[in-house]
Symmetry: C2
Subunit: 435 residues, 2 copies
């Protein structure tokens, strides 16, 4: 290996900067580990190869410019010339590829990556973003709300569409398929899209509100994925959803390319991410995935709730929210966030989903703000009075929160909200002193 | 949640069976954790939803049929009717999706999955397999050997082709791009393919042996990936390689579909897998990835070496080898392998790569047999006499091993092998009693 540690180096506009958390194997010197990570993720290999000339190294070599042996945190700057910068798979093959396998490490986590403006400018980013989605739905300020049709799988297209209709007429803006519902025999994709969009029309007419359906186009080939998206468009759908990790980055970049002319809003479900992101010391952080998702151009992305059934604390969710929405994003050492300019790339609308019910609304809004989608699955369909009543309860909770009214006050006026509290418990504010 | 634990249940031909290793969060009952995993990965959610009828559940519900609270090992059978069985992304969204995020778990690992014959039959498997590749190369018995052009990135197309030529004329059968070399400015894809295949022709003419080049077609969109594959074919290439985890499963299934008519051998580089597979208690095992790769139809797959620079012990490599080659694969409880019928699906040629040098040859062959590709990067290019001599040393080691000759005997006759040992150390057999 050549020498890559250069603490005096200051990254510039031609560098992609990575922050890693490194745990060397027993007996391995920390600096040796850093050198090997830098080399293996760029130009070098384990033995001193004769074909690696100094001229080549002088223009392409990475610089390890920050090392903290106690925390394991190390920052490496890679010249952009190393990369096919418009290819997420190629970037990952370098900065998040072989290095996870190296015997001289016990653990390694890619915490964040910061891209210079020239790289960011190669990406489309979201087509709609937060403003575009709000305009489409005609909802100016309040959080958007949606449901996942439940059970996750098993309903036939007509029953699926009926559950969607009940949720829409109860006040939901959005209805989505669940992550594992694609094109099964009991519920073929095309029949489901036709039936559900028919019921969407009915719900729009009856409610006077815009209603939208996010059909899951996750598929076994890019052509099938795009065909499903085109079918949604032909049937006058506005949205599609995709399981971003199971389909992978090449499919996502393909979808975004094709969606430019189709004009569909792209909703990203992050199922399977936690196989990679959850271990605090090994893998790739959700922060990296969220950043790549904004570059590629998903309009919506699941980032957790802090509150529901899924893992993810308040700091993590706030950090992801900033990555989705802010421009620029400021450095945040505590939460392992590198500074990031976003250029003209639109913000991603963050989605809170997983185990939410109406009493969670004020807390989710306090933590995540109003520019979010809140999704309720069991939290409306398991309402003792049924799906429509569950949806009413959610809208009652959102309306009260927007008006600055305590939920327990609203519940006095609204039976659906009161019964939701009886089933799932009171909102946090009620449990302390006010009730 | 409904009740999914059913210890008396015996899986049948309509079940997909998963083995998980489960570590519940503190205070969570193990059986509750199992029930929640089974429900979340199929039809259920966290609250008792009214839309989940018993009729639906009776045909689609999963069965937790084995529980071992001490080891954490649990087996769940899912009816195939739950799935879009020809879609790897949909299958993963179910059995390896949201469940990794659940708060009621500390850790979860998908150890293996077994597919019934009806599902296996929906997949192509490898087009060439071991026999097809041996026929193409005209190599009947000995292990195939190849190199990765080094440095990993940085050479221009002409220099890249020259390094390839040196390796081929030294005796390598195969030359591959490294995982992070795709289409960079210093080495554009098309120019590299043209130059390298020209040098392949020259090496074939001079050596009288078949020589093949594995061009890395990892790309940012499926159309670009297929275009690169078509270009290789037009230029009379026989092989392409792809970074299977960074591109993702939808791209892989697309590639296999398209490669059927192109007739290209598909080589799968597994970089990034260890972000998901390496933690022993969380994520998805390499066993699962290898199995899916055989179903989709990669002809070659990196599975580790046990010996070189990358993580992965002998048991793991042997298990992966069986999954690549054997039919049927027998159950192996110790190594978390479920029984698997492979129907007519051809075997995958396993690739040993990562830190190998000539002295490793006898051990790799002892562990992995002869039906493998051994790849040497630094292990030939860092040979003190250069790449061609490094390649000679590898072939000398392989020839000796095939003849049952001790390597230290062969080294007496062959300067290249002797110098390789001087640089990197003796083969294991020499270090004990015989020398």
């Amino acid at each position: 290996m050549l020498e890559y540690i250069d603490i005096d180096y200051i990254p510039n506009d031609n560098d992609i900067v990575c922050e890693y958390m490194i745990e060397p194997a027993s007996g391995v010197d920390f600096q040796d580990a850093c050198t090997n990570i830098a080399g293996e993720s760029s130009i070098d290999t384990w033995s001193d190869i004769l074909t690696l000339g100094h001229k080549l190294a002088s223009t392409l070599k990475p610089h390890v410019f920050e090392i903290d042996e106690i925390s394991g945190i190390t920052r490496i700057a890679y010249p952009t010339a190393l990369f096919e910068v418009e290819s997420i798979p190629q970037i990952l093959s370098s900065i998040a590829g072989n290095i996870f396998s190296m015997k001289l490490l016990n653990n390694l986590k890619l915490m964040d990556v910061s891209f210079p403006r020239d790289v960011i400018n190669r990406y489309n980013g979201p087509k709609f973003g937060i403003k575009g989605i709000r305009k489409l739905l005609g909802v100016k300020k309040r959080p958007l709300c949606g449901t996942i049709v439940k059970p996750k799988v098993g309903l036939n297209p007509k029953d699926h569409a009926m559950v969607a209709y009940q949720a829409w007429t109860g006040g939901m803006d959005l209805v989505k398929d669940d992550e594992n519902l694609t094109n099964q025999k009991f519920n073929p994709f095309k029949m489901r899209v036709i039936e559900t969009l028919n019921m969407r029309d009915k719900a729009e007419n009856e409610s006077g509100e815009r209603k939208m359906y996010m059909a899951n186009i996750t598929a076994s080939s890019c052509s099938e994925m795009i065909e499903r998206a085109e079918f949604v468009k032909e049937q006058s759908g506005e949205y599609v959803m995709i399981d971003i990790i199971p389909v992978g980055w090449t499919a996502l970049q393909t979808l975004r390319e094709e969606s430019e002319s189709m004009g569909l809003v792209l909703h990203g479900h992050r199922c399977m991410h936690a196989a990679i992101t959850r271990n605090p010391v090994h893998g790739i952080s959700m922060q990296v995935i969220a950043k790549l998702a904004r570059m590629v151009g998903l309009d919506q992305l699941h980032i957790g709730t802090t509150i529901g059934k899924m893992h993810g604390g308040e700091d993590e969710v706030k950090t992801l929210l900033a990555t989705c929405k802010s421009s620029p994003v400021a450095e945040d050492r505590k939460n392992h966030v590198l500074a990031q300019e976003w250029g003209g790339l639109k913000p991603v609308l963050a989605v809170a989903s997983g185990g939410l019910h109406p009493a969670h609304v004020p807390d989710v809004m306090r933590i995540m703000g109003q520019d979010i989608v809140m999704q309720f699955g069991g939290g409306i369909h398991a309402h003792p009075m049924g799906t429509t009543a569950g949806a009413y309860a959610v809208r009652q909770a959102i309306d009260a929160s927007m008006d600055g009214e305590e939920l327990y006050e609203s519940a006095k006026k609204h039976k659906e909200l009161r019964i939701a509290f009886e089933k799932w418990g009171q909102p946090a504010a009620c449990q302390c002193t006010k009730s």
